[in-house]
Each structure stands twice: as C-alpha cells, then as structure tokens.
Amino acid sequence: MANIMMWEAIMRAHDEEMANDPMVIAMGEDIGVVGGTYKATTGLYDKYGEQRVMDTPISENGYTGLGIGASFLGVRPIIEIMSVNFAWLAMDQIFNTAAKVRYMSGGQLQAPVVIRSPGGTAHQLGSQHSARMEKVFMGVAGLRVVTPSNSRQAYGLLKSAVRCNDPVFINEHELMYNMRGEVPEDEYFHPLEGSEVAREGRDVTLFGYNISVHWCLKAAELLSQYHGIEAEVVDLFALSPLDREGIRNSVSKTHRAVIVEEAEPAVGVGAEVMAIINEECFFELDAAPVRVSALNVPIPYNHAMEKAALPDENDVVEAVRTMFGV
C-alpha cells in the first residue's frame, strides 16, 4: 500500500492508462504545461507530448464536444473540466451527444469519454465556483456517474472509467485533492457500480458520498462515543446507477436511514435514495428516513454564512439524535 494524496492517485491512474493505450489522451484547461490546477496531470505533458496532453482553450462545450467526437473513432479522452460550475457550459455536448449517441444510433456509435471535474464547495469561492452538480448528471440516462471519497477510489475509478465503453462523469472535490489515503501498489480497477460499507454498524445507516462520507464517519464516532449509537456508513461511490441492493441490505439491517449530501436537497441524492428505500424496503423501516443537505441558497462568500449554508458532521449527529429522541 502506498499512502498518497488524491491528486497523486489521479495522476498515477492517468499515467498508467496513457502508458497502456496510445489512444488515451488528456484534455482540459491548464492540464499540460501547467500540470493541472489541482496537479492531477502533473508530468504528463513532458512524458506524452502535446498531441496527447492537450491544453485546451477556455471553451468548455467546444473541447468536451471535441473529445466526444474523437471518442467515436476509438480515442479515449480524459477530459478535465476545471470546476464543475464550468461544466454547465458543456451540458449540451455531455447530455445531448455523449449520453444519447449510443441509443439514437441504434448501438452503432459510443462515446467512451471520461469527464472529471471538482464539484463541491471549497473556501469562500463564492456562488459561481461552489456548485454541486452531481444531481444533474445522475438524472440523465446514458451517463455513468461516480464520485470518489478517498485516494484508492479516485485511482481505481478513473482507471475503470477510461476502459469502460460508456461516458463516465467523475465528480471530485476541491477540498479533497490533498487528502491522503492508502492505494494498492499493484494495478487496481475499482467497480463503477455498487457501494462500500465504510463502517459497520447496527443502529442506523448513514449514506454518504464523496466528502460527505467523511462527515458520516466523524458523526458515527461521535454517536458511538457519546450516545451509544452504532451507525453504519455506506459510501455511495456510484451515483448512477445507484446501488439498490446495497441500500436495501443496509437499511434491512439497521432499519433507519440518514442521507447526507453537500448539495441543496431538491431533486438530489437524498431524495433519490429515499425513493429507493421506499421502493425496496419500506416495511423494514423503524423511522422515517431523513436527509441532511445544504440550505437551498447560492453559496455566499462570507465565511460564517458559507459554513451555515453547508452541512457537516454535527448536523449529521443532530439528525440522528432527533431520530432516536436522545
């Protein structure tokens, strides 16, 4: 095992996949000579050259569409969109082309692109650099959506995404690139579907993904330490498709569910997981499921207001205490 930061894990996945297949390319703003805003493509430009490590103009819809077009011919682009907020500009090509081309061509064409982008809020980046858009991507058929919570997942998900024949959106997080974690020394491919139990528990299931897995884990420790509640933490690294079986299994065991998301509640991961619980295991429930979400506001610049707009481990603890009446 190597203990490496998430950006190093992503860089290693790029490097291995580019070495493995000459048709794998990297594209994005400042990813080449500069090495990437979050360093995730460091060194690739010098190693693989400008034909395969392309510093793009600031034309998100254009270069995303270009990557998709190239993928029609067997090129495997890893497209970095510097911030998920900018991915709004590329929605036309992602949704109208990549997600639909296999279907509307009757299976003749496919768009095996990987689109990576940091979502989530960082420190005081303001409304237009703090979007959380996973809910948008996971709502469209024809697209896979995964989101790593640690270095191992970041490495293994990217490697599988490059080789998978579907378009895959990888939702990363600006605050997590320097987070350390264990990654196998040997080559490792992470499944693009399923979920992982990040902590075993018997009393309540905390569903998290990406950064909220860490809030859930901290909350679980606090609940165990101060309230004698043993929470199970389920890491939903795959947001589309969601792991119905994993959700059912955990809720059938704990009979209680809290879904924790960094985004606004409407039409979100929490809403979707609740719907799945309803459909899969409603009669297993001992309490109504609860979601812990951001406030329904654009993210403010002021630090105290920003903090107030977003959930954290304390909000998770409060939600569980309310559920248990303790």
């Binding site: 034909q51 254009g62 077009g69 279907y103 509307m104 491919f189």
Partner: protein, 330 residues
C-alpha cells in the same frame, strides 16, 4: 468530370429529390412521425462536395437535414426510409428517426438535432483521424444559422490551433428556421466570418453542381494535404419550410420563384442536354425509373419491415456486459 459521371450524378440528385418528395407524402400519410426536414433545392451542395471526396472513407457529419448526406455517403436508401418509418431494419434500428440517421459502416457519423452541435464533434473526429495517422478527412455540413452558436467559434479556433483535417461546409440557405439571415446575423457572407481564425475559406454558388465540385476539390485537397481546416460556403435555397411544421409563410413568392429558376437538378440536366450527352426523353425515362424504384423497392421495404420489439426499449442506453463496470472482473 466526364459526362458519363455527370449523368450518374444527375441520376443520384434526381433520386435524392424524389426520395425527399416521397418523404413529404409519407409524412402526410402519417408513416413518418416527429420532425422532418427536407433537402430539395440544396442537392448540389451534398453531391458536389461528396463527389469530390471519398464517401465511405472520409467521415461525414451533419445536422438534422441528413437523409441525403447519408445516402451519398453510402447508406442504403431503403434502410434510410425504413428508419423514417421507425422500423428495426432502419439504419438506426428505428431509435433515431429522421434527425438521427447514422451509418457508421459507411462513416456517416450522424445527424444531430442541436443546431451547431456537430461543429466540435467534427473537430474531434478529425483529431481521431490525426491520431490514427490516416488520410481521411472529416466533412461537416451545417447551415448558415448554426454559425451563430458558440460551437462555431470554439470549433474553428480549436481546428486551427491543432491543425485538424476538417472541412466545414456551410449550406447557406438564407434562413435560420424562419428568420432571414440579415435579421439574425451581423455578417451576411459567412466565409468572411472565418477569417478571424486564420482559416482559408471560399464562397461558391451552391446551385451549380460543377462549381461546387470544383470548389470542393480545392478545399478537400487543402485539408487532405495536412494543411488544416477549410471553410466552404455554398449559397443555396431550400424549397420547403425549415421542417414539416413550418408554414413557410415568411418568404416572398418572388424570392421563391427566383430560386426555382436556378434549380440544381434542372441546371445540371440542361447542361448535359446542351452538350449532347443527354436527351430530354432519356431524362424522363430516368425520372420514371427512379419513381418506380422508390415506390417498388424503397417504400415497399420500409412498409414491410418490422418495428423494433418494444421489449428492447432499454437496450443501447449503456454498453452491454462491459467488464470494466465490475472493475475488470468477468
């Protein structure tokens, strides 16, 4: 080009005209649903350019007005009509429809319904060609109104900086849906807009097959020789409205009459008659044979083909049995 080749092209263009007119009837008969955008009036554009290219070898991509570009690229007209009839035997297995004709075996990379959407896709296909090292080019046909999308500017810029083998053909039919070009577009001559990206460009009469063919030869030679992108503007006119749901009330009858005197099929026909390569009777026989072929073969095939099984409605959303979904485990 020899007269015998021109006679073949004339037959293909007349076939395209009759094919589209028959689509109109089939739409009225409710055998074709959805939106239907027809090509009559613009035939010399697709035929002039693709006659100069290598259909089936070069990649072609276009908008929703796509039937004829697909056929000239090598798609079987029977299977294109079957697609319009939403049949399993259609080129896109009945999942695409008029706006989404695909025939990847013939390198016809599709019809797309978002105005301007194919601009970056074409540049990407050209990037793929560049990486594979072949001598193919990508030809992207779009209308004038698509040039007001951001993708036009973004794609021209990228095609130039990366020297991509892509030919953009602008079929300038003077209208974006129902809005005349001078009311929507600051610069009327589209080829001039390209100069801002240092890409060579030309404007040509899109009704005259010979002129289109000649201009396309020059353009294709440029792109295939590795000199990067080229932009060819062809001045043309569509006889019908933007789509079947368009009343076409926004155009003056005098304007329509003026363009009807410059019909691309008739112009090529008369040129062949003038040179003695064709007689009017031969042309009429050709027309009759085409009408028979469309009815007896094309329409019949589409009518008799089965619809796709509804049980397969969830096929083709994602790849089937992709091992990497499970992390490479079979």
């Amino acid at each position: 080009m020899k007269d015998t080749d021109k006679k073949r092209v004339l037959r293909e263009m007349l076939f395209a005209r009759r094919f589209e007119e028959r689509c109109y009837e089939a739409y009225v008969e409710r055998n074709i649903g959805g939106f239907l955008h027809l090509y009559p009036g613009e035939e010399a554009c697709a035929f002039g350019v693709l006659e100069a290219a290598r259909p089936g070898h070069d990649y072609v991509i276009t908008s929703y007005r796509d039937h004829i570009h697909a056929i000239k690229s090598g798609a079987d007209p029977k299977r294109v009509m079957a697609e319009l009839f939403a049949r399993e035997t259609g080129v896109s297995k009945g999942r695409g429809g008029s706006m989404h004709i695909f025939d990847v075996a013939n390198r016809f990379m599709g019809g797309y319904a978002l105005v301007g959407g194919p601009f970056p896709l074409a540049a990407g296909i050209a990037k793929g060609i560049q990486m594979q090292g072949g001598d193919e080019i990508c030809i992207c046909f779009l209308g004038d109104a698509a040039n007001n999308q951001g993708t036009f500017h973004e794609s021209l810029n990228m095609a130039k900086i990366w020297n991509l083998p892509v030919l953009y053909v602008c079929e300038n039919n003077l209208y974006g849906i129902g809005t005349r070009i001078d009311r929507s577009t600051a610069v009327i001559d589209q080829y001039q807009r390209v100069s801002g990206y240092n890409i060579p460009s030309a404007q040509e009469d899109g009704q005259d097959f010979d002129k289109v063919y000649s201009a396309a030869n020059k353009a294709i030679k440029h792109v295939r020789s590795g000199k990067g992108p080229y932009f060819l503007e062809l001045m043309t006119y569509r006889y019908r409205g933007h789509s079947m749901s368009d009343s076409n009330a926004y155009r003056a009858k005098t304007e329509e009459r003026m363009w009807s005197h410059r019909d691309p099929v008739i112009m090529l026909r008369d040129r062949l008659i003038d040179s003695g390569a064709l007689t009017l009777d031969e042309y009429k026989d050709m027309d009759t044979a085409i009408l028979d072929e469309i009815e007896d073969e094309v329409i019949r095939y589409a009518t008799e083909s089965p619809e796709p099984p509804v049980s397969e409605v969830q096929r083709f959303v994602l790849a089937e049995n992709d091992p990497w979904v499970r992390g490479g485990v079979q």
